[in-house]
Every structure is written in C-alpha cells, then in structure tokens.
C-alpha cells in the first residue's frame, strides 16, 4: 500500500472517528446515565483492545496491512449502522467491545503500515506528515460536526460517519493511487 493511499484513507477514518467520538457520549447519556456505566463502557473498550493487540499484530504480518485496514473500514461502516438503534445499556457494551477490537486493528496496522511504507531515513518526517494530515482531518470534522448536530440528529451523524468509513475502505481497495 502506498504512502499517499494510507494518508488519504486514514485521514477519512480519523474524520469519521472524531465525528462520532464527542457525540457518542450523548448516546450513552440517553441510554444510561450513571458514571459507573460510562466507566464500564470505556473500560470494556480499552480491555477489548488490550487483549486483541497481540493477535492483531500477528495477523498484520500474515495477511498484510492493506487487508486489515480494509477490514477495519468496512467493519466500522457496518457497525455504525447499529448505533442509531441502541436502546439499552447492554447494547452499548457490545458495541464498545467490538469498537475496542476494531480500534486495536486500526491502531496497530496503521503503525505497521507506516513503518513499512517509509524508509528509515525519512521515517520521522513521513510520520510527521501523516499525523499532520490525519489530525487536520480530525479537527475539521469535530468543528463541522458541532454545527451539523444543530441541524441533524445524532443518528444522522452516525450514518454520515458510516458512509465516510465506507469511502475510506473504497480508497484502500483501489490498487493504485
């Protein structure tokens, strides 16, 4: 997978991720509202990530970064379609566990892909550029979403984010860029 393809696809992934992240709390608030439930929701997320990292690391070497990142994007696109339908806390917990596992896939593979697509000499500046573009995308989407929420519902945000994940998947799918 080429460096530009990686930057572009992951920028879109970050856009979608930061779009839902701040507003995801509102969903939790609607479903359950004690601090212990917040704790559990995020704790399960982190725990699911933690236990899946070693396995994902091995998969990245076996199947290749591209396949895993593609899997991540498409799975997230599908998963987000369930968010607007959540009505109970246990459903939030299930989604959090799946998000945790997928999050680990993305984090681990993104780093592996970066390491593989840059040469050691320019690794620092390549990483810098990668983080620059993905962070710019994230910041822009947080700000824009703040305005969007005024006009749309929280559910619409999840649908838009799902489409963005699907778009990032399609970019990874294409052989060359």
């Amino acid at each position: 997978m080429g460096y530009r393809q990686l930057v572009l696809s992951q920028s879109i992934v970050f856009m979608a991720g930061s779009m839902i992240f701040p507003f995801y709390v509102l969903l939790l608030r609607n479903v359950g509202d004690s601090y212990s439930q917040f704790g559990w929701a995020y704790g399960l997320f982190a725990l699911a990530s933690a236990v899946s990292y070693p396995l994902i690391g091995k998969w990245a070497d076996r199947f290749g970064d591209k396949k895993l990142l593609l899997f991540y994007s498409l799975a997230m696109a599908a998963l987000l379609l369930f968010f607007p339908l959540v009505t109970a806390v246990w459903q939030v917990y299930v989604l959090q566990i799946m998000m945790g596992i997928l999050g680990a896939v993305q984090k681990n593979t993104e780093k592996a892909a970066l390491a593989r697509s840059t040469d050691k000499k320019h690794a620092g500046s390549d990483m810098g550029r990668y983080h620059f573009w993905t962070s710019v995308a994230a910041a822009a989407s947080i700000i824009i979403t703040g305005y969007l929420v005024d006009f749309l519902t929280i559910a619409a945000i999840f649908y838009i984010a799902s489409l963005l994940y699907a778009a990032s998947g399609i970019i990874i799918w294409r052989k060359h860029l």
């Binding site: 609607n30 359950g32 498409l74 599908a78 379609l81 649908y159 799918w173």
Partner: protein
Amino acid sequence: MRAILFVLCYSTLFAASLYVYTQFYSRPAAEDAGRLLPARVKEIKQADGEETLKEIVSETGRTGSRLTIAGMQHSQGGQTYYPGAVMIDMKPFNKVLDFQPEKKLITVQAGATWDDIQQYINPAGLAVKVMQSQNIFTIGGSLSVNVHGRDIRHESLIDTVQSFRLLKPDGTIIQVSRTENADLFPYVIGGYGLFGIILDVTLSLTEDELYEKETRELDYGEYSRYFQEEVKENPAVKMHLARISVAPSSFLREMYATDYVKAGDQRLLEDYQALKTERIVALPKFFLGLSRHSGRGKDAFWNIQKKYMLEGSGSYESRNNAMRSETDFMTYESSTKTEVLQEYFVPVDEFASYIDDLRFVLQQEKEFNLLNITVRYVEKSDEAFLSYAKEDMFALVLLINQGKSEKEVEKAGLVIRKMIDVTLNHRGSYYLPYYSFPSKKQLETAYPRIDEFFRKKKQFDPNERFTNYFYEEYK
C-alpha cells in the same frame, strides 16, 4: 466482484438500519418530573402561536392523531403525554396579553409561568392571589390541576379565574367564564387537559403586601387548635405553611409552623419589594442529600431546618417573594432512583388522629424513604368538578425517594395505597397530578363524581382527541 458484493450488502444494511430507525426509534422521548413513565411520543410540537395550535387540532381530524398538552411537566403520572400521541409544548405560548392594574386583572397566554406574571405585575405593586409555593409552573398547567398554595384567604386557583378561552377538540375557540359556556368552567379547570387547549386566561390579582414571618414549634396534637384559633381567626395572617418531622427521633410528632402576618407598617414594603432570585443552594442540597441516605441524616436535616426557620422568625418578606420559593436544591439526579410527590387532604379537625394512623402505617415500612412533609391549608372549594377540598382541609405534601425499577415502583405503590386508605378513612382525599399508584376504587372514593367527569369528557370530545396517561389508566 467482491467490492460489488460489499457495496450491495452495505447498501442493504444501510437502508434497513435507516428504515428501522425512522419507523421505530426516531420518535421523540417524553418524560415528566416523576421520571417513572418514559415514553415515545409521535411528535413534540411547539405552540408558537394561536394559528399553529388551531392547525394542530384540526389536523387530527385528518390524521387521527391524538393530542396531549404539556407545560413544565411537573405532573408525575403522565398527565402531559401519552405513547404515540402528539405532545404540544405550550411553553413558547407565553405572552402577557392585557394588564389592567386599576381593575387588578391580567390576561396571559397559557404557557406563561407564574414567574412571568410576577415580573410583570410586581412593579405595579400587585400580586397573585393563589398559586403554588414555587413559581416555575405554567398557568395552563396550574389551571389544569387547579392548584392551591400557602394563601389561606383565597380558596383554590379556580376562585381567582375570571374567564379563559378554550380551543375545543373540534378546532373552534370559545370563551368560558361563570356566565359564558358556564357548564364547562368547572370541568376544564382541574380537567387535566382533557377538554381542549386553554389558550389564555384572565386572573384577578391582589395587592402586594409586606408580611412578617412568625415561626413557632409545636406538637402535632396542638396543631388543629392552633390553626383554627390563632391562624384562621386572626385576619392579619394571610399565608401559612407548616412542616411535620419525618426524622426518626421525632417522627410525625414535632412540627413547626410559619405564619405570614400582615406587617403593621406597610410603608416598609418598598424595601422588600424587589423580586428575589434563587440563592446559592449548596447547603440545603447537601442536607437533603444526607437525609436521603440515613435516619441520622434526616435528624440532622430536620434540626437544621427547624433552627433556620425559627431564627428567621420576625423577618419580613413581600407577598410576591413569599410566592417564589427556591426549588433548585430539590433537583435530584440518579439513574436508578427518582423522587415522587403525594398530596393528601384531610379535614382540619381530623389532623391529629390522622397523623396517629399514618404513623402507625409508616412505622412498619422501614424501607419507605420519606424525605419531607409540608402542611398547608386549603379552604373548602367545590367549584371545580374534581374538587379535592370537600371541606376545610389540611394539605400534606409528601416527598418520597424511590427506585425506578418495576419492583421498586410496586413496593412504593403498596405503601402509598395504604396511606391513601388511611386518608380516605379520615374523610380525606388525594391530589390527582401524581403517578397512578391509587386504585380505581380509591379514585372513586376520593372523587365520587369521577365517572360523571369521564362521561362529560366523552360527550365533549367523542373522538377522544385529547388524552393522557391519567385518562387512559382510569377512564
């Protein structure tokens, strides 16, 4: 090929999710202050003008939608909403339409709050005759439950209403007063929004006055005599409020009572006339919090409250300020518990024996978390069809902390039905804007004309355009 397959699957999933969401989940959720009846309503419509309201009502003729009317939603038994029905939010409909200080009359739209009225009439030296002790409620909501308050010289809210306009279920508007469409007057006031939408109301006002607060401690056994001889018979006393202890060490025995006595020198009113705003509430909130958790907390809260009130004895307050008590310290947030109200009316001469019986019941209910009881007085007022003051009554408002789970609601219901039985045995009645704990039989005993009320409702609104949880539960 696989890409096409994914696009197909994804599109299908997307469409399915969107379909399910719009069909079942996009309906707005509604809930009232009792937080025991969350429901999905069809739609929440803002009452942003008379034309809008007329349209909403006439639309139901075509769509078959049912309507509910909501103000501040402090009724706790779903009186303001119903699953699948359109909920009309009256809060934006809040203009003062006419004010005639010389005649002491004000006409306001139903979504206005008591605070809106107070802000408007205070500069003219006028005050409301009857309202709740707090000023956060809308006029339309207060009329629909026919409130009473601390004032002991004017009966219930209905007695201060000159006239109102009603948007009927058929979409037409009529004027209702004691002379025009007079048969509807006692049904709509205290009618829980079942006869149509109250658009605007003309209320009679009174002078703002300066009161001296006199607080004293007394035993529950002396209270009836004290009230009849020293409060009722003393024309200088205009308002009255008492509290009876729910703390374990003085449970339903100790009381303190505050009388608002017209001050000798009314020229001082000027110094006290400015409307007070909510003070810092951290301290009472903290003690109320303690009292939720233990008997010791309740003892501490009772002692501090009593001391504070006794120390405040002799201080002055304007009528308008006495009618805008703090409420913020009572806000309570918990995902598993809620705080509900009950209000029982009992004839003045029955008070002591009633309290004895109530104590007997409650002492066996160790888990029942009763946080506060205030006592007010309401004069006999049988003008409203569903009148609760069948004779001169004391009104006891109980604040109860309870769980929201089905089991907890059932447990609270058992105790509450026992308390209502005790109340009914003492020729009492209970207030209707709360959760549907009471049985149908208890309702019929407290309100012997309830069936006639429901018959009138069906006759006036044959398609049952206007509804709510209370109506559906008991009709």
